[in-house]
């Protein structure tokens, strides 16, 4: 097991190094492509090993990471000075001081520093299957008039290894190091293009994420001071004694990393970078650390005030991010807001912490990773091949970019509609929390989930509505030939999503439920054939299949069906002069954005102060 884990972490690093040094197209393309089977197989081999396991690491690794930590923070400090951004410098120096304190307080612990359990292995699989195709996509994407292709691909591949490392650590101090490394990665990637906007946004990402780092260090201090432990597994051993304040800080760092309001700006800023950056940040890596962290502590916080406040906060973000997304007109921004929104939902599920809710959260993580990766890849294709960035440029996409539109359509459907994973996640969540409605936060949750999914559906339908609009006769459908790399990546995601949805019942019952069982206990979910059962409710296979066929027909059939009927003009009061109707920009909502954010700050403070028991 140890070898497999090491391979999983180190292999991408080696590949990245080679790519970076070689700077040759062949090397880059072949190596990234090789990563896909290699990492998938390694992740799978690790998955079939007996787990969970704790892995001992040599002493020098510990030392190395500590040194690396200081180096990293020093680098942040240096960047703050160079970029003349005092905020970054101050936050970095605070972290440095805190880190010294933590290291002084830390006494030796016998608990191994790596912990590989089902969640870790699931993340390995996600990184391999969802993350690597994005690197493959990047190899072609960067050919379209972008500088620094090789170093970019190298960073992306390296980042996959970092992510694999981050989800396997047990020592929270190590976790801090990797948390900061992901911050570093996002800092570099967002600022990759090097223009003014990119620099500004990368600064934003840096200081916001450093707040998360500070929160982790604070949590560490409290853990060591009060409980004397600093490993995730140790925390789980006697949950009742763990200090709430520290958990509050940990959740704070999760909220920051998960770009929950009011810290959502950094994730939005990521859109100035090349599109694969957004894809990698949103789908398989980076922001997924947030639900991961909450999942780790969910058995401890389950049922506490902190959990309830987390539910209220993340649920609020789920709805409000979807609402704000309505008023956006940049395609990538819309996707970013919907990520923020769904991240809220994932954390919400993890915070509820019952077996079924955790299952729902995991289902959301998996399906969201696939769908978002898919959507961002298509956004990249739109941007580079069809020069479409804003939704009002998406007009007549059905003629100009039929396949890409079909993929986007499918990706959107995956985000809210029956019978896809995200729907199942919501369904489970609602049915689960219906059992403890006595608490106000849970009824709020139901309203949140109902409303949030309605808002997201509206958002997607609004965007799709523009791209299919056509005066009369969709005749000149123009199947543009796309690069093979793009097609491969799109089809890869498409096929995965489709097959996972068809076999969703066994997938959830045999793959996701055991993972949830390792966190929160066995959920009452099982599958008979392709039918999914949960408590007394049943999602029959004929329902899944029927919905799938309906959805499939709706998104793919328009290209094949040609009715033999005469074509007439659209009704325009009989007038000849053209009247345009674009779409609503929901200006009325944009006006309240400030209030929404202000309220989210209040909720945030509540999580830390009340949830952490600081009062």
């Amino acid at each position: 097991m140890g070898a497999l884990v090491t391979l999983n972490i180190v292999l991408p690093w080696i590949a990245a190094l080679i790519i970076y040094l070689a700077k040759k197209d062949v090397v880059t393309n072949v190596l990234t492509f090789l990563m896909l089977p290699l990492l998938s197989i390694i992740a799978y081999l690790a998955y079939i090993q007996p787990h969970p396991v704790l892995i001992e690491t040599p002493k020098w690794v510990d030392l190395l990471i500590t040194v690396y930590d200081f180096g990293l923070l020093a680098y942040f400090f240096y960047q703050g000075i160079v970029r003349k951004n005092s905020l970054i410098a101050i936050l970095a120096s605070i972290q440095l001081i805190f880190l010294v304190i933590v290291l002084l307080m830390m006494n030796h612990s016998l608990t191994p520093n790596l912990y590989i359990d089902d969640v870790t292995l699931m993340f390995y699989l996600i990184v391999a299957i969802v993350g690597v195709p994005i690197a493959i996509f990047a190899t072609k994407y960067m050919d379209y008039g972008e500088k620094g292709k090789h170093s970019f691909v190298a960073i992306v591949v390296w980042f996959l290894g970092v992510m694999n490392f981050a989800v396997s650590v047990n020592n929270i101090e190590w976790f801090f190091a990797l948390f900061e490394t992901t911050t570093l990665a996002s800092y570099i990637m967002i600022g990759f293009r090097g223009d003014k906007e990119a620099v500004n946004n990368s600064n934003l990402a840096l200081w916001m994420n450093q707040i998360g780092g500070i929160a982790i260090l604070l949590a560490l201090m409290v853990f060591i001071k009060i409980n004397g432990v600093y490993h995730f597994t140790d925390l789980l051993k006697n949950p009742s004694l763990i200090s709430m304040a520290a958990l509050g800080f940990l959740s704070l760092s999760a909220l920051v990393k998960g770009a929950q309001m009011p810290f959502h700006k950094w994730l939005l800023g990521a859109m100035v970078a090349p599109t694969p950056v957004s894809a990698i940040l949103h789908s398989a890596t980076m922001v997924k650390i947030a639900p991961y962290l909450i999942l780790r502590i969910s058995p401890i916080i389950k049922g506490t005030l902190l959990a309830k406040l987390l539910i209220i906060t993340t649920g609020y973000v789920f709805v409000v991010a979807a609402v704000i997304a309505l008023s956006q007109d940049n395609f990538k921004k819309i996707l970013a807001y919907s990520t923020i929104s769904l991240l809220g939902l994932m954390m919400l599920g993890a915070a509820v912490g019952t077996p079924v809710a955790v299952t729902a959260s995991l289902v959301l993580i998996i399906f969201h990773a696939f769908a978002k990766g898919f959507l961002f890849v298509e956004a990249g294709v739109l941007e580079k091949v069809f020069h479409v960035k804003y939704i009002n440029q998406m007009r007549r996409l059905i003629e100009r970019a039929p396949l890409t539109l079909m993929f986007i359509f499918f990706g959107f459907l995956n985000m809210t509609f029956v019978p896809f994973g995200t729907f199942i996640g919501k369904w489970m969540m609602i049915e689960e929390v219906s059992n403890f409605l006595q608490h106000g936060s849970y009824i709020l949750l139901i309203i949140y989930v109902g409303a949030g999914s309605a808002f997201l559906s509206i958002l997607y339908m609004k965007v799709l509505g523009i791209s299919v609009r056509k005066a009369h006769g969709i005749e000149k459908i123009n199947f543009v030939k796309l690069p093979a790399t793009f097609n491969f990546v799109s089809v890869w995601y498409y096929v995965w999503l489709l097959s996972m949805t068809i076999f969703i019942a066994p997938f959830i019952a045999d793959f996701v439920v055991p993972i949830a069982a390792s966190i929160a206990g066995q959920a009452d979910i099982y599958a008979t054939g392709l039918t999914l059962h949960m408590y007394d409710s049943t999602l029959y296979f004929w329902q899944i299949l029927g919905a799938l066929i309906l959805i499939f027909l709706i998104h793919a059939l328009p290209y094949f069906v040609k009715f033999k009927a005469d074509v007439v003009h659209p009704y325009n009061c009989g007038e000849v002069f053209p009247r345009h109707m674009e779409t609503w920009n929901f200006e009325c909502i944009a006006r309240y954005e400030g209030y929404f954010v202000a309220f989210s700050i209040a909720l945030f403070i509540m999580v830390v102060v009340l949830g952490g028991g600081l009062l």
């Binding site: 005469d566 007439v568 003009h569 009704y571 009989g574 000849v576």
Partner: protein, 163 residues
């Protein structure tokens, strides 16, 4: 003439268009819809939408501005369809005849099937005209009907995509 044609007469849907009359006729149409005469008894509905209407009920002398609109409405209706011209103006201009801005009646623009005389016609006359229109409508086929100079008309009335 299939099985469905037998039921045709039970549900004629009306599209009403005023091409610039004095509104007298339109008031009569409204009163036909109202409880006293209630033409919904015969399954008639005022749809206000050419795509779903069967009977085009035109009033007024057709001003120059209305000409193309009238043509387009007619073209947008699916066959079988009937045109009913209501009131003196629709027949030849009525009191507006030979004004500088009128086309002197509906017949100059689109083919008319039923004429309802009067200025304004009584509701009874309207209903009578409708019944006659339905009779004509029953006998029509689904074949496409063409206007004079059809191709050109379509071209000038078309809508183009933007961008």
């Amino acid at each position: 003439m299939g099985f469905f044609s037998k039921f045709r007469k039970k549900s004629p849907w009306i599209l009403h268009y005023n091409t610039g009359g004095c509104n007298g006729c339109d008031i009569e149409i409204l009163s036909a819809l109202a409880p006293r005469y209630d033409i919904e008894r015969f399954g008639m509905l005022n749809r206000g939408n050419p795509k779903q209407a069967d009977i085009l009920l035109v009033t007024g002398p057709v001003t120059k501005n209305c000409k193309d609109v009238l043509r387009r409405l007619y073209l947008e209706m699916a066959e079988p369809k009937v045109v009913v011209a209501m009131g003196a103006c629709a027949h030849g201009g009525g009191i507006f005849r030979n004004f500088y801005h009128v086309e002197n009646g509906v017949n100059n623009i689109i083919p008319v099937d039923v004429w309802i005389p009067g200025c304004a016609p009584r509701v009874e006359a309207l209903i009578d005209g409708m019944v006659e229109a339905v009779e004509i409508w029953e006998k029509k086929s689904k074949e496409k009907e063409f206007l004079k100079d059809h191709e050109n008309v379509i071209k000038t009335l078309g809508v183009e995509d933007d961008g």
